[in-house]
Amino acid sequence: MFDIFFVQQLVNGLSVGFIYALMAIGFTLIFGVLNVVNFAHGEVYMIGAYAGWLSITIFAPPLFVVILVALAVGALAGFSLERIAFRPFRRFRDEASLKSKAIREATLLSSLAISIIVREAAEKIFGSNMQTIPQEYLLLTPIEIGPLTFASGQFLIFGMSIVMLGGLQWLLKRTQVGLSIRAVANNPMGATYVGINTERTIIATFIIGSTLGAAAGLVVGLYQGAIFPAMGFAPGIKAFVAMVMGGLSSIGGAVVCAILLGVAEAVTTSFFAQGWGDLVAYVFLVITLIFFPTGLFGGGRDRV
């Protein structure tokens, strides 16, 4: 039972978990600051993958240039998303509107609307089937370490998660932008009172979060050999589950829970069947919410 195949399953589970974590990082960042779920994050992930694929088919540049293209397009997408779906709901500056939950929830629907529009547009333009990726770019070179088989993509995903997580922590703790992000996340009205430019901070958050999401989409698309318009949906749901399990505003917590979900899926496939993997993930979510309502790593939140 606990043989080398089980270890290989753990490796598979970890790599799937890091995929979810990549998506969860950007997702949680945006949620932490604005306290709204960004349903369009899955589509930013998909846009990053398509942008990278387009640059591969048009220019065929080396891999790191492709990633840079995805990052740039992600930043642009995040900026546009914020402008179109989130900014119009913040134009009311009176006290009642600023504290209104309904206006916050309206952005939930507007981001959902944008996600549907973007996905359907991609289906119309590119077709809903998977795109052919040239063999040299597929991150599927097998790397054998002892009896275990890894793919080059798995190392890249793992490396990217560490860099993203570390980079984000550094950004949040050591830079001015990070300080204002943390301030706005804690108490947006208070941040405005002390002179922080909330608008700029929110834009910065979206750009950072979407950049991370787009890079994630590209790398995962190349690793799974599958780039198609609906690719952001399934990881998006898992990222959301990871975020809720981890405590809504804890990025590290979301990453840990995402990895946990991935490993749980792989182990479930190993002992039962692949179809039960999703069930296990959602059971985890329900159990977490029953026993840890603020998530596994979440603390209290002050919102005035």
Binding site: F5, V16, M130, Q224, G225, A226, A234, A266, A273, Q274
Partner: protein
């Protein structure tokens, strides 16, 4: 005065009626539903292409003078509820004398319940679940079922020397019958099944499943999947260093699989009812006209749709063209015998309405499908 007015009205009324009687081109409609959005949208688009090609060729050929066949296409989204709604809509539309659809067995069977009640003949070009034609005398199909195809692949794998086989199948009606029939045939013929794994539609990461079946050390692997899942599976299996041969069904005889999977697809075995490179005259004519109009070569499912449409068209002609009623079209369909389609000669059994067709065996060699004897 009133007499004159009434006479005028009567004259105009009769003139309109007479004019109507002399009207050219009665339209007879075929309702077609397939997924144009969602997971299997690429198949629905190909079905529509083939069906429009078939209908246009038929209308131009003048086989039914004075009658224009119209194709009414609806998007079933691959959803059973939507299929039921569309079936009701088609049943209410009196100009529709036959329905074609859907892509997968689940939606076809759901819509079939409606067609059985409203007595509208339904021909599915690809639903291969054995229970589909058992719903009522109004269900037909022109693709062989997995009752026939899976045991054929099973015997083929055993004949090639594989004794222990692992099965990986998609979790839906089709995948379940494909797997169940394969497993049954292997066991009856003395082989051993090491694992039967089902994966949810939409899965793109098969590494956990691959690791699990590798543990059982099979000689070969049978997959019941479509080309997107299949190509991801083949690539990931190659990356993980699993060397066993793959046996697939006709769902994998699709040129896009070669593009997506690249060299990972080599040495895979599959069955098919249609090969675009076949030298037969009607196949070549179809491939050329499809390519000229749509810019790409048709594959097996598109060819199935082309044949399905043509079978319905000839049934409408046999049932009287402009005077075809739904009952007559259904009876004409049941009498289809030796229909010369691009997917082979098709005959419907008048009792069970199951099609009799032949399947050819292929292997992928150097990125191409090669016919095996």
């Amino acid at each position: 005065m009133t007499h004159r007015r009434n006479f005028l009205f009567a004259a105009v009324f009769l003139a309109v009626l007479a004019g109507g009687a002399y009207a050219e081109n009665k339209t007879v409609a075929i309702g077609y539903h397939a997924p144009l959005s969602g997971e299997n949208a690429q198949y629905g688009v190909q079905f529509r292409n083939s069906a429009m090609l078939a209908v246009d060729q038929f209308n131009k050929s003048g086989k039914l003078p004075g009658v224009t066949i119209v194709l009414k296409f609806e998007d079933s989204k691959g959803d059973a509820k939507e299929g039921v709604n569309i079936a009701r809509k088609f049943s209410d539309d009196q100009s529709i004398v036959a329905a074609i659809g859907d892509f997968n067995s689940t939606v076809s069977m759901a819509a079939g319940q409606v067609y059985a009640q409203t007595h509208l003949a339904q021909l599915s070009q690809t639903a291969s679940h054995p229970d589909f034609v058992k719903i009522s005398p109004y269900q037909f199909r022109n693709i062989t079922t997995m009752d026939y195809e899976s045991p054929l692949v099973a015997k083929w794998a055993l004949a090639n020397g594989a004794k222990k086989i692992a099965v990986v199948a998609i979790q839906n009606d089709w995948g379940q019958t494909a797997a169940a029939n394969f497993v049954g045939a292997v066991k009856v013929n003395g082989g051993e099944i090491t694992d039967t794994e089902f994966f949810n539609p939409g899965t793109r990461d098969f590494r956990s499943i691959i690791t699990k079946i590798a543990r059982g050390q099979p000689d070969a692997i049978f997959i019941a999947a479509f080309y997107e899942d299949g190509s991801a599976f083949l690539q990931q299996k190659t990356q993980m260093g699993i060397k066993q041969t793959i046996y697939g069904t006709s769902s994998l005889s699709e040129p896009k699989l070669l593009e997506l999977a690249g060299p990972a697809a080599n040495n895979m075995y599959a069955t098919t009812t249609f090969l675009a490179d076949s030298p037969e005259a009607n196949v070549q004519a179809y491939v050329k006209s499809y390519d000229a109009r749509y810019g790409s070569k048709p594959q097996m499912f598109a060819a199935q749709a082309f044949d399905a449409t043509n079978i319905v068209l000839s049934a409408i002609a046999a049932a009287g063209g402009a005077n075809a009623t739904r009952a007559k079209v259904r009876d004409a369909l049941a009498k289809t015998k030796n229909f010369p389609g691009v997917t082979g000669i098709t005959t419907f059994d008048p009792e069970t309405r199951e099609p009799a067709k032949t399947l050819t065996k292929l292997q992928i060699q150097n990125g191409k499908y090669v016919l095996l004897k």
